[in-house]
């Protein structure tokens, strides 16, 4: 079994990757996917922390399950909003959405 640090490094990398994707992408759906990536990175760290925790409580694992459920809900809400805006603007590119500013 690899050490906790290894899991955490992978998790941090995943999180950074997701954050980079969120910041670099312009397509609303790809941004949404990047956020999912970040959430999964957190899930990985939660489960890893739980596994290496003494005492056998399952809080971390349960938390990860909850996060998955939340992520699913988030995707639903997000897609609904993206579809609505694509209907009025005919594009998923977020840099086209800047009517509201200043």
């Amino acid at each position: 079994m690899p050490s906790l640090s290894a899991y955490l490094v992978v998790s941090a990398l995943l999180f950074s990757l997701g954050a980079f994707g969120f910041l670099a992408r312009r397509n609303a759906i790809l941004m949404l996917i990047s956020i999912e990536l970040m959430l999964n990175a957190v899930n990985l760290s939660l489960v890893a922390f739980n596994a290496y925790q003494p005492g056998g409580s399952l809080n971390g694992a349960v938390f990860a399950l909850m996060v998955m459920a939340v992520a699913a809900a988030e995707a639903t809400v997000g897609l609904a909003l993206v579809i609505a805006i694509i209907r009025t603007r005919q594009t998923p590119e977020v840099d086209e959405y800047s009517d509201l500013k200043e």
Binding site: A19, F22, L23, R26, M31, V94, D95, Y97, S98, D99, L100, K101, E102
Partner: protein, 743 residues
């Protein structure tokens, strides 16, 4: 009685709520455009505003080129003075009815609400309830006044606990002692009269109900200010009167100058209020209480520098509200508001709040001799400074405004040297006679078709005898002529300055008294005497104001004559001292040990008409009379032929004066050279200081925040990707700060 006292502020509040909610439905003002007519286009209001502004600009430039002391305008000036000429006919049509606001003074809407000949009269009913309620409040406060002053009682009405958090408690409680009773007398009397006066003055204005709503809100706030029993209520009232003042100065908001003046007043008051707020905060942090009793009981235990800081911070608030140097500039500009407002707020009540604050906090100031010096110095300087400006003003209301600044400064001088009762005496008498003068000037402006420049007036006493007579009484009081109110109160301050050994303050005070008399009568002579210098067609339209406007003048003339006699005899030991003694006793005792000269004051209290006191009295009267005489010489004598001058001069001294006046051109030239040129130069330098330096600082602060706002605003690009990056950057900064802090 307790319940009645609580009713005093509650009644105007009820009036305010009524006026706001029901008022708009009570007035019926036909829209201007519906009646047609040659003045009906909405643009007309603007155009005449513009013309007026242009002519005003012209006037002010003339003021600097030409000697401000010269009453006769040039021909070009006369050509420019015609904004009202075009409205002459309309004025004549309306003049039969109750007063009608000249077209460019009307509600800032410009186009609205004035009476078109033949059209239906507008209907105004919204004044009834507010005025009635203020009248009721006046009745109650008179009863309270009598009971407090003559019954020797003080009232402490605790309504309920407003704030209770931990050890910190604030009650809603009213405290009425002799000091508050004095202010009640002025505030409610002048307040009621201004309400009555406004019925006539604001007639024809579409903002009629709004005006009465503001007035009532102001009355409520002012009563809260003077009746609260703790610094928080005082502060609340303080802010609220500032707000009302803002709303009322900017009442004719379509005049850009009015809007600007309102903003200026607001900003400068906030500067002072900020200091005041800090002072209150400091009192609370150091003493843990804000109620007057407890603060005054505990203040002695604090170290001296803390008391001095508190006193100075409080005084900063007073400087702002009472328009003392260097925050005085808002008051003259505030004259852009309707004249009843100038009479009520900017002469008789709100501007006195600063004096009240210092007088109320006398135990604090008594513990802070350095702060007392600051008060006295600022007061003395402002007194002479403002009087010097008043000498050269040509706008009738500006003269009175600078005079108000100067007279308030007189009160501060009195407070600063520990002449508490004398200062309050002057506050009361000044409240009455300055209110009278302002309302009189409003009547003049109203009757003369909106003209405010005295160089285009003259001989108005023929047309408006009652305004003239009452204003004459007010002017005599302001000039300090014996038996009138101002004489006694001014003399008390001067006398105390002398008795306590502040000789320099005494001399400056005397000079100011002379200047005051001069500019007051310069105003009177330019307005009511001589020959009419305005546009000729205008002359026949000048008329005496309506009864609702003249009646308050007559009523106010009574206390202007009597108050001095009632309160101030014998001089420097009159009834007012007995009444106010309980309020200032402790401070007076304390100061005896601190400041030199106080002991002398106690000895000198036995006034003798033929001793030092008598000489001082005579000197005061002399300064006033000399000022009037000089004004008479310059503004009445010169334009008239010597023969008529001799005939008119009273007491048969004519022949002697006649010989002296043979040299008048010669003397005038010297005066012109020495005083007028010099005076104008100083005046314009001060004007420049006002306009550039102080305004600049105020505008600068606004500019900086606007710029900063603009900058931040541009960072809101509307693009999600930028927002995300900015968030990420924020995250990194937060991490850096955390790591730096934790290490």
């Amino acid at each position: 009685m307790e319940l009645l006292i609580a009713l005093i502020p509650a009644l105007p509040l009820a009036g305010f709520i009524f006026a706001v909610l029901v008022g708009p439905r009570l007035d019926h003002v036909p829209l201007h455009g519906q009646h047609g007519g040659d003045h009906s286009e909405p643009e007309d209001g603007y155009a005449s505003d513009g013309a007026h502004a242009a002519s005003a600009a012209n006037h002010s430039s003339a003021e600097i080129d030409d000697s401000g002391l010269l009453p006769i305008p040039s021909e070009e000036d006369q050509g420019h003075t015609s904004p009202h000429r075009g409205h002459a006919d309309e004025l004549s049509n309306a003049a039969g009815a109750e007063g009608v606001i000249p077209v460019d003074l009307r509600d800032g809407l410009g186009e609205a609400g004035h009476v078109t000949p033949g059209g239906p009269r507008p209907l105004y009913r919204s004044w009834m309830v507010p005025t009635g309620l203020v009248g009721l409040a006046w009745l109650i406060s008179m009863a309270v006044f009598v009971s407090v002053i003559f019954g020797g009682q003080t009232y402490h009405v605790r309504l309920y606990e407003w704030i209770a958090s931990g050890t910190f408690r604030i009650e809603i409680a009213f405290f009425v002692d002799a000091l508050t009773a004095m202010l009640l007398l002025v505030v409610t009397t002048v307040g009621l009269l201004v309400h009555v006066y406004s019925i006539g003055y604001m007639d024809g204005d579409r903002g009629f109900w709004r005006f009465f709503a503001y007035l009532n809100l102001f009355m409520f706030s002012m009563l809260l200010l003077i009746m609260g029993d703790n610094f928080l209520m005082l502060y609340v009232g303080w802010e609220a009167v500032g707000l009302c003042s803002y709303a009322l100065i900017g009442f004719w908001y379509k005049k850009p100058s009015a809007a600007g003046a309102a903003k200026k007043a607001f900003v400068l008051n906030r500067v002072g209020d900020f200091g005041f707020g800090l002072g209150v905060m400091m009192i609370w942090t150091l003493l843990g209480t804000l109620s007057f009793d407890q603060v005054f009981a505990g203040i002695g235990a604090l170290p001296g520098w803390q008391v001095t800081t508190i006193a100075l911070l409080l005084f900063a608030g007073a400087v702002g509200k009472s328009a003392q140097f260097p925050l005085h500039v808002w008051l003259p500009d505030a004259m852009e508001g309707p004249t009843p407002v100038s009479a009520l707020i900017h002469a008789a009540t709100m501007v006195n709040a600063g004096v009240y604050l210092v007088a109320r906090a006398n135990p604090i100031f008594a513990h802070a001799p350095a702060a007392m010096w600051v008060v006295a110095l600022i007061g003395t300087f402002t007194a002479i400074f403002a009087a010097a400006i008043a000498l050269t003003q040509n706008d009738i209301k500006k003269v009175l405004a600078y005079s108000t600044v100067s007279q308030l400064a007189y009160m501060f001088m009195g407070l600063g040297i520990g002449a508490w009762a004398a200062a309050i005496f002057h506050l009361v008498s000044h409240g009455f006679f300055k209110g009278l003068l302002f309302m009189g000037s409003g009547s003049v402006i109203h009757g003369a078709g909106g003209e405010q420049d005295m160089r285009f007036m003259g001989n108005l006493r023929r047309k408006m005898p009652w305004t003239y007579r009452t204003m004459l009484i007010g002017s005599l009081a302001l000039a300090g002529v014996p038996i009138f109110a101002g004489f006694f109160s001014k003399d008390e301050i001067l006398g105390e300055a002398f008795n306590r050994g502040y000789l320099i303050f005494f001399i400056v005070g005397l000079i100011v008294a002379f200047m005051t008399a001069f500019y007051t009568f310069r105003m009177m002579f330019m307005t009511f005497w001589g020959s009419y210098r305005g546009p000729k067609p205008q002359w026949k339209h000048i008329h005496e104001s309506a009864g609702t406007m003249v009646a308050p003048l007559l009523v106010l003339a009574v206390p202007t004559v009597l108050i001095g006699l009632l309160f101030g005899i014998p001089p420097e030991g009159g009834a007012i001292h007995t009444w106010l003694n309980p309020v200032f006793e402790a401070a007076e005792k304390l100061r005896a040990g601190i400041l030199p000269g106080s002991a002398a004051a106690q000895e000198g209290h036995g006034f003798a008409l033929f001793g030092t006191g008598g000489v001082l009295l005579l000197l005061g009267a002399l300064a006033g009379v000399l000022g009037i005489a000089l004004a008479y010489r310059w503004y009445v004598t010169r334009p008239l032929s010597p023969r008529r001058f001799v005939e008119r001069f009273p007491l048969g001294l004519g022949p002697g004066m006649y010989r002296a006046s043979l040299n008048k051109y010669y003397v005038d030239d010297i005066y012109q050279l020495v005083f007028a040129r010099g005076g104008v130069l100083v005046g314009s330098a001060l004007w420049w200081f006002d306009a550039k330096v102080i305004d600049g600082a105020v505008n600068g602060a606004g500019w900086v925040s606007q710029r900063l706002g603009g900058l931040l605003r541009r960072s809101q690009t509307g693009r999600v990707e930028n927002y995300g990056l900015e968030m990420a950057a924020g995250l990194i900064v937060v991490l850096i700060v955390l790591i730096a802090v934790v290490r």
